[in-house]
Symmetry: C2
Subunit: 473 residues, 2 copies
């Protein structure tokens, strides 16, 4: 990249859209966990209209300059960070932050990419509707990033991933053209499905600048329960029974092993062991309804009785429900205290979860004796965060040096069971090598074909997801 | 196409897979409504494994012979029929008719493309699960065709289109490679979303040979109601209220004008006017639940009272509910008796349905005075079958000669309101010209780009959806 190219690019933008001061650029360069990023870029730009994004991308495309789109910078895989020695600009969508329209009767709204997820939720709530996407980073992450990574979270069981919540997208293509695909239709078979190509592609096929999103009736009541179980198989069977008996009203079905629960209890004095005796596994379930008058707690109670569950508690009030959720939500922070962790974001068919946990656990222990398995996640989605905490006797750096080989052990077991090594967190810079190693060659060829067709000059987030060119340089 | 090429192709298949006798080929050549097809093809082939499909496609690809995939041949747009003067073979998937696996605890099954939709429903029911895709042709249509056309139907409001019900697909690509994409995962962000490219592409990007499909808890009870209303706006408001009050348990929300209702009453002596006085519009709603004990009818009753609806009936038993549905289901046959119809398969944002019906109706009457608007459809999906019955004074042929200009009038109004001219029936041979005329040029270019990337030799269903080459020859 030449200075001339950057100068040309920056000329397409107003002063407020350009950040070149090193200190001001710093927050855009560093990923929150510090695992990726910190590498310099030519500039950070913050255009505030799709047209300005398009002008900037056109200039970068012409100059052979890479564009790294960035939302709230909360991703866990380095998808929004520069790679070492990369000639790139970071394109922050943060100033594209308008809710363009809200239509309660259509159960939809249109939001620009830079809207924080919590702002989208609030815009829906203001018209007595629900936008169900929800997860820990919701106050910081942006809807554009949610779509680019096809975010999952706590309500996927009932409402699906970000992809399932999207009716249309506006996208700046690699050559700077804008695709105005913001339809708000539940049915449209007038051509190929283009929007889903851009959703989940981490900005490598196009830059999402706005989206039309599905809304749902507002939730009027919830019922929450926690159950102790002696096996994952029993948890899977109970999930089926509760799903049926609740009238398919389960919005969350979270599985936690005893170890992560103990980490939470040790870490946070407000966390209380929820049941009289310890159990190998816990299921945290929540049912919810937009109806005022349905007795959800009673229905869960009945279902537990019918399923002959031994040890469970139904939250009789909101604080008790919050206490159950606190256990689940404390785990990510609590496991840090126990020592370094190697994270695995795995999905398998729901019915295969027990076998996966068993086999992957054995394989990890064989490869690294003493590793403490810290498994928790979204059983209803077949998604488990199969995290590995270092052996007590080991130290953090020694254990983290084994990231590649221990994740490979876990990924191999997942793939063997028809699962995925990247369930909800994506690929970014963390897993392109695993994409190369584990994907069906035909699928990999299709992905490269699409990247080459939509971004032949490799302008958009090069090296992420599926590198078009050899990135070893 | 040379005889040699066909001979080579047929050599790849066993005798049972090849149909070349003219009489035996006939049923594969003619579309059910007789609007498309009847044109000769070199052969009909019926391979019974994905590998045999792949060998045949490889041979056709090598010989420059077009492949027209065909499911149950129930489509309404000629997508599975040959075009005039086309050098092609028809590839029927009917012998790929195995349910490969059913997994109740995973809420999924894997079916080959040639399984009839009713067989997929039955396989789910056998393990106390629901496969919710449902529409009139379900005993004849095949799941591969359902996916290729992204079929909609009666339960889209609650469960989505065919696309939303699909976890993975197995696809034979244009060059004969097989993509084994039959994952059964609720979350998989390990690469680009490939499956949705093939779903809804009408076999023009790849041939779906099997699919893994989502199942849901079996339905234990339903409640059905019919409501008379004086405006579409009132129907839209009521839809919101019922959706909220039912706990989002509505599975159908069908709108019917008085005219199509009267056609049904005139045509079928078992159809009974459902309410004491006539109304301009009727809403047929059904709520359903997998729970045994919830009082759905009572909840609908309460919601109607709260919404201050004047004239409605809740079905107190299954025969009454069936009588309500009979009205809706009789309309397509009944309108034929009133004279020839020009069919429009329109979607708009739900909130825009009243404006669409008003404006499109006025525009049609202005263009062809006396045309009888026969509007009915899936209000909850924003999908209306805005059919035009010929003026009483006109004759069928004279009216049908105006197909192109009157559909254009309707399509223009739909597109003006952010709608679609092909909501659930697809493009096929019926609407490629409208695709060219009405699509955003950037979207059209993207579609051509994808077709060229995935099927550069134009082997797969050429001339359908988005013609890669000039088809005027």
């Amino acid at each position: 990249m030449t200075n001339t190219a950057v100068t040309q690019l920056l000329k397409t933008l107003d002063a407020e859209s350009v950040v070149t001061d090193a200190r001001a650029m710093a927050p855009y360069l560093t990923e929150q966990r510090g695992r990726f990023g910190g590498h310099p870029v030519a500039a950070v730009i913050r255009p505030d209209t799709p047209e300005a994004v398009a002008r900037a991308v056109t200039a970068c495309h012409g100059a052979g300059l890479a564009v790294i789109p960035q939302g709230g910078n909360t991703g866990l895989c380095g998808g929004a960070a520069a790679r070492p020695d990369e000639q790139a600009i970071i394109l922050s969508l943060e100033r594209l932050d308008r809710i363009r329209s809200v239509d309660a009767e259509d159960f939809s709204l249109v939001a620009e990419a830079g809207c924080r997820l919590s702002a989208v939720q609030a815009a829906a709530a203001a018209v007595d509707r629900l936008f169900p996407l929800s997860y820990a980073a919701e106050a910081d992450c942006q809807i554009g990033g949610n779509l680019a990574t096809n975010a999952g979270g706590m309500n996927v069981l009932r409402y699906g991933n970000a992809r399932d919540l999207t009716l249309g997208v506006e996208v700046v293509l690699a050559d700077g053209r804008i695709w105005h695909g913001l339809k708000r239709l539940r049915k449209d078979n007038s051509g190929f499905d283009l929007k889903d190509l851009f959703i989940g592609a981490e900005g490598s096929l196009g830059i999402i600048t706005a989206a039309s999103l599905k809304l749902f009736p507002a939730i009027r009541q919830r019922a929450t329960a926690i159950v102790g179980l002696d096996s994952v198989e029993r948890a899977i069977a109970l999930f089926s029974q509760l799903r049926q008996a609740s009238g398919d009203a389960l919005s969350s079905c979270e599985l936690m092993g005893r170890r992560p629960l103990e980490y939470a209890l040790a870490h946070d004095a407000h966390c209380v062991d929820p049941l009289p005796a310890p159990h190998a596994w816990y299921l945290l379930v929540e049912a919810s309804s937009s109806a005022e008058d349905v007795d959800l707690a009673g229905r869960l109670e009945q279902a537990m009785a019918a399923a002959a569950v031994g040890d469970y508690r139904i939250a009789g009030d909101a604080p008790t429900a919050a206490a159950f959720w606190r256990l689940r939500n404390t785990i990510p922070a609590a496991q840090k205290v126990a020592g370094a962790s190697i994270k695995n974001d795995i999905s398998v068919p729901i019915s295969g979860m027990g076998e996966f946990i068993q086999r992957a656990g054995e394989a990890v222990i064989a490869a690294c004796p003493g590793t403490r398995i810290c498994a928790f996640g979204h059983l209803g989605d077949g998604n488990i965060h199969f995290n590995l905490t270092r052996p007590e006797a080991s130290d953090d750096d020694e254990f983290l040096a084994r990231w590649a080989d221990l994740t490979a052990v876990v990924h191999d077991e997942a793939v063997r069971l028809g699962g995925s090594f990247a369930a909800e967190h994506g690929i970014g810079q963390l897993k392109p090598a695993e994409v190369q190693r584990l994907k069906d060659p035909v699928e990999l060829a299709l992905m490269r074909n699409l990247k080459a067709a939509l971004d032949p000059a490799d302008t958009l987030n090069p090296g992420k997801v599926v590198p078009l060119r050899d990135q070893s340089a």
